[in-house]
Symmetry: none
Subunit: 401 residues, 2 copies
């Protein structure tokens, strides 16, 4: 079902939907036959909620596809990730609250280390501190290119954002990171005629950057990736008719939410508990809440099985604070799997549960991958969950007579 079918069915309501996204939640047992991170976590509150919920396994993009953070989130927000795309450059720009114009071309930049012959030694310049990054971007900002404005903004460690602003700039560009050391960074190539001007400008920028920071080892060179323009994408209000709020500590997720027209709320602090405090403070003002938990993913990426389980336990301890607000619908799910034993995003479908007074609960008192495989929600695409949430919130009307 597409938005054209759904949008005419959406009706106003007073009900509230809360969606908890534990990033990279889906996991794997350390030894086949064992328990996953989620299954081995002590999580009485999630299990109690599961007993009142419908459970299922969701493929963020499609079965067998390992999603990036962008597609993973689009899916759980009900946007078909095969149809809507948010480029890496845009995600990075959004992540630092950079206000991208409709025609801006953004790229993710990495400081890196090259040798005397120009070959890569370290693709991340020894993960330089953010302070050094800030000094270097200051230097790069002195670069001038004919006919366009340019922006160079520090993100964190070795990462920055590069933005070209002007007329006639396409974003069909190849990236300069060869993805391995021992070779020189690649030139930017235009993938279509309308991106030739952007390619020329990006290459000119790189050439000048190399001159300006060539002596600043380890960060003596830059690479640019994920050139992209802001996508034309309908907002949460356009599609679901809801005032949506995002509670996320990491900037990329805040940026993603902003792209969908969500109100990005201020979180005092960085813990899950701090996020729930923000949820409580803003409960009256919005209809939909997206609460993002980052550390399930980052501990998975670090290969830290036990830490990932502990992050889930930390979320579990906070869950009663949400339930005390008496939400009409609660979704607990994820954008993708990040099994600790793989130390990376994976293709595994993510466990999801949806609670409401009217959900027709499965009566399965456990939230885990194999428990979810037995649930009545079945195996779904992530994008199918939002219409079910909307229906459970009594925010849609009948299709056809």
């Amino acid at each position: 079902m597409d938005f054209q079918t759904l949008i005419p069915l959406v009706i106003p309501g007073e009900t509230k939907i809360a969606m908890i996204v534990m990033d990279g939640l889906g996991g794997l047992p350390i030894e086949p036959g064992g328990k996953t991170e989620l299954e081995s976590a002590r999580k009485p509150n999630l299990d109690a909620l599961a007993a009142q919920s419908i459970l299922g396994l969701a493929d963020p993009v499609a079965p067998g596809i390992t999603p990036g953070s962008g597609p993973g989130h689009l899916g759980i927000f009900g946007y078909d990730p095969l149809k809507f795309e948010i480029g890496r450059g845009v995600l990075e720009a959004l992540g630092i609250d950079f206000e991208l114009g409709a025609n801006d071309v953004a790229a993710r930049g990495n400081f890196c280390t090259i040798d005397a012959e120009g070959k890569l030694i370290d693709r991340r310049a020894g993960r330089i501190p953010t302070e050094l990054n800030a000094e270097l971007t200051k230097i790069l900002r002195t670069i001038k290119l004919p006919g366009v404005e340019l922006f160079v903004e520090t993100v964190k460690d070795y990462r920055f954002v590069f933005v070209l602003r002007g007329k006639g700039l396409g974003d069909g560009l190849t990236e300069t990171d060869p993805q391995r050391v021992g070779v020189a960074p690649l030139p930017v190539k235009a993938l279509n005629a309308k991106s030739r001007k952007s390619a020329k400008l990006a290459n000119a920028f790189i050439a000048q950057a190399r001159k300006l920071i060539g002596a600043k080892k380890p960060a003596n060179m830059i690479m640019l990736r994920g050139f992209a323009k802001r996508p034309a994408i309908p907002t949460f209000r356009d599609v679901y008719g809801m005032r949506a709020a995002a509670i996320a500590v990491y900037s990329m997720y805040r940026g993603l939410a902003r792209t969908l027209g969500m109100n990005v709320l201020k979180v005092d602090g960085e813990t899950i508990a701090d996020e729930f405090t923000t949820l409580e403070k803003n409960w009256r003002a919005f209809d939909f809440f997206y609460l993002h938990v980052k550390k399930t993913d980052s501990s998975g990426e670090d290969g830290d099985f036990l830490k990932k389980a502990r992050v889930i336990e930390e979320l579990d301890e906070q869950l009663p604070r949400l339930m005390a607000l008496q939400p009409d619908v609660v979704i607990v799910g994820s954008d993708h799997s990040t099994p600790a034993i793989l130390k990376a995003h994976s293709w595994h479908p993510v466990p999801v549960m949806l609670y409401s007074r009217y959900c027709r609960a499965d009566g399965i008192a456990e939230y885990g991958e194999r428990a979810c495989a037995r649930g009545s929600l079945g195996r779904v695409r992530s994008k199918e969950i939002m219409p079910i949430a909307l229906a459970n919130a009594l925010r849609t009307t009948k299709f056809g007579a």
Copy 2:
């Protein structure tokens, strides 16, 4: 899978398929954690059949979508409700056995009450009795419009059917019901060039109707909704190569079946037992039988949980009469859910079971929502069931070499 794929695979056969549609069957427990209407009904015969069947949960249109009766039935008959559409006006006309021509434009009419300024006071004219409706439609039938024939037929209470018959009539028309009181009914507007003539005629009809019944308070005005022509839709014989028969007491379902080219059988009486008598009498003459049970839906709409359960029990008592005929395939399912606690159609997937000698039964000896959630049919779209039924009836051949 679409019809283009399926139709070439259909082969002739002597086997018989019976489909029991308990309207609005899917339900909800009164209190979360309790049993649904179906789960609480005493139904030994359905449960025994379940043990020999494959079970699943079917979404009539798509997950989270609450279907109208038209889309719900199209789905279970194997027609994609997102592709085929039967307009409200057509359903109303079919419901009173009005023989719609291929170019007729039908609308559902409501008698309503307006004040001296023409603003709506009651959108249903105080739900006037059918007898008064019949008097008023008699008056409206005196209206003449240039170049077209028109029909005004009483349905029930405040509802009537309005049909325009003539050449060059499009059905791209807006409705006149503003969906709230305190404002005047809206004019009919053409949504495309080929519907301009229809719009003009409909507005002329409304203007004359207002003059004729303006003094007949409370029913002193009319509104028209759901303008539609008979859809171009392949018949059951076209798609499945079967002689299909419909056994339904309510006219709308008889009309729906007729639209798909089914033979609508005469039922002596109004009970489920009477429907089974019709089934027995006509068993030899057809390959496919659609048997419709209305009161599961109407008791659900009335919020009568116990009565809905009792209707299921009534069906259960009759089931052995079908099984005695030795059908090759039996489908027991529904067009949508109507949980008594919601008093309305809902989005919940419907429990479905499919019996045949070759179905590879799940061995789950219960027909209920949660039992079906565990079945091997899984969570499917309703439209996927008919190809499975056809296969189990050995009425399709291999796809590809």
